[in-house]
């Protein structure tokens, strides 16, 4: 199957001197949950911003479904949930979703059905009329995730969607991610928590702007002879220093 994302020799320097990504090359499979795992400051967000086309590449290239990252056609095929809230705190959940449904190119007439569908998916129908600013942290995050579900995009890029959530809710979201992947959606999910890594189909370990491993979680554990991804990570880093 054609990969969802092809990254060729991408290097990014932020603010003119900080090397955020160093010669990253990756092929990310379609229809899978792909975890970008690494400590904060590793370059996960920079890589994500490059893939969704928010960052102009100076070196290297990225293709998403065969189109260069950032091209107009991709705006209808991918969704992006940023690390910041990226919904309007002074609107209700429903008003947010309606607005973003239209901004993703859906006609007014379909908006109500879409809002209903994504609220159902994140289990927030009872909070539809609440102002986002009045929600708890986890609810805010789910509202933001609901926006990323609008229009069933082929690729969902989620920057730390589960950070700070309680384990039950996190488990529920991972079930949703895996379900979406089984339906053919490609998902890129970043996290700095190693215990989430084992829930991905495909794993990219990132540290210091470099990809230090890319394989399935099982393969990684087997190759490094460790029991957990955290141990694999430590072993890989230890071998480098």
């Amino acid at each position: 199957m054609e990969p969802a994302v092809k990254i060729n020799n991408v290097s990014v320097t932020l603010g003119g001197h900080v090397a955020a990504l160093k010669d990253v090359s990756l092929e990310l499979p379609a229809g899978k949950t792909i975890g970008f795992i690494g400590p904060s400051g590793a370059g996960k967000t920079t890589l994500i911003r490059s893939i969704v086309g928010r960052l102009k590449l100076e070196q290297g290239s990225i293709e998403v479904f065969g189109q260069p990252a950032g091209s107009a056609r991709l705006r209808r095929e991918l969704s992006y949930m940023t690390q910041e809230l990226s919904v309007y705190p002074d609107l209700t959940v429903q008003e947010n979703l309606r607005y973003f449904a239209i901004m993703t190119g859906h006609p007014q007439g379909q908006a109500a059905a879409i809002v209903h569908e994504v609220l159902e998916a994140v289990d927030m129908r009872d909070k539809a009329g609440s102002l986002v600013s009045n929600l708890s942290g986890g609810q805010k995050q789910r509202a933001s995730l609901a926006v990323a579900l609008i229009g069933s995009p082929r690729l969902m890029v989620l920057d730390e969607p589960t950070v700070g959530l309680d384990p039950v809710l996190r488990d529920r979201l991972w079930k949703l991610f895996n379900h979406l992947a089984s339906q053919g959606t490609s998902l890129i999910i970043s996290s700095h928590s190693m215990d989430e890594a084992s829930r991905c189909d495909d794993l990219v370990l990132i540290r210091g702007g470099e990809v230090i491993a890319h394989s399935s979680p099982e393969e990684l554990r087997r190759r490094t002879g460790t029991k957990t991804i955290e141990q694999s990570f430590l072993k890989l880093v230890g071998g480098r220093e």
């Binding site: 100076e58 209808r76 992006y80 940023t82 990226s86 239209i102 901004m103």
Partner: protein, 246 residues
């Protein structure tokens, strides 16, 4: 560009304001209250008040919309919503015109309220009539919105954004002809006033106050205000980048 997306953005911005009744109240209450206070400041010189009040109607909307827009768009830039929107099919122009539309409508309401108080309760006479007065106020608001959108690109925090008010607006306020006739100012300040947009917004209000007929100067003044607003909107759209540099 898509009218549906422009309108949806305008509606969204208005919904945000609707959920913030305190801001709305401040927008609609402060200008008429200040005008009323001013009337009594000039108790001994009512003639002077009648000259100044309409000029203020060209200043209030501009200043308030400048502040509100620069904070609102700064929040979009820093809160992740602009990031998200820029990965969607919505055009930059839809985003910007949505803001311009929403705040112009708010300004209309503000102008109607302030204008009604000024003409009806404070008995200020404007020879040019009510409608031209309101048009001037709305265009001043459009100018404020456009400048606020543009200025927000240069602020990294809300602290900085509010400082743009003394930095961008106060110099124009001092030289626009409100405090002293422009031709009595030092020459370099006259040159400065000649290129600043608020000067023309205030001048348009002077024309409405003094002339029963629509004058050529009035048309020129409003034309310049609109030109500045359009230029600032275009520059504002340039500062919003689909793809940012690293």
């Amino acid at each position: 560009m898509s009218p549906a997306m422009t309108l949806a953005t305008a509606r969204r911005v208005m919904s945000q304001l609707r959920h913030d009744p305190r801001t709305l109240a401040l927008l609609f209450v402060i200008p008429p209250v200040l005008l009323t206070v001013l009337k009594y400041v000039f108790q001994g010189a009512p003639q002077q008040f009648s000259g100044i009040a309409p000029m203020l109607l060209g200043i209030f909307p501009m200043v308030m919309m400048f502040l509100i827009t620069s904070i609102a768009t700064l929040r979009e830039r820093t809160g992740g919503t602009l990031d998200r929107l820029m990965t969607m099919p919505v055009g930059k122009l839809d985003f910007i015109l949505g803001y311009a539309l929403a705040f112009s409508l708010v300004a209309c309401l503000q102008a109607v309220i302030t204008g009604t108080v000024m003409l009806g309760l404070l008995h200020v006479t404007v020879l040019g009539g009510t409608l031209p007065t309101l048009i001037g106020a709305v265009l001043a608001a459009l100018l404020g919105t456009a400048l606020g959108l543009f200025a927000s690109a240069f602020a990294r925090s809300e602290f900085q954004a509010v400082q743009f008010m003394p930095a961008f607006i106060f110099p124009q306020l001092l030289t626009c002809g409100l405090f002293a006739a422009r031709d009595a100012m030092a020459r370099p300040l006259q040159w400065f006033a000649d290129v600043m947009p608020l000067t023309y917004s205030v001048d348009a209000m002077k024309q409405v106050t003094l002339h029963p007929n629509w004058t050529a100067t009035h048309t020129k003044d409003l034309g310049i205000v609109v030109a500045y607003a359009v230029a600032a909107l275009i520059l504002g759209s340039v500062t919003i980048q689909r793809q940012e540099k690293g």
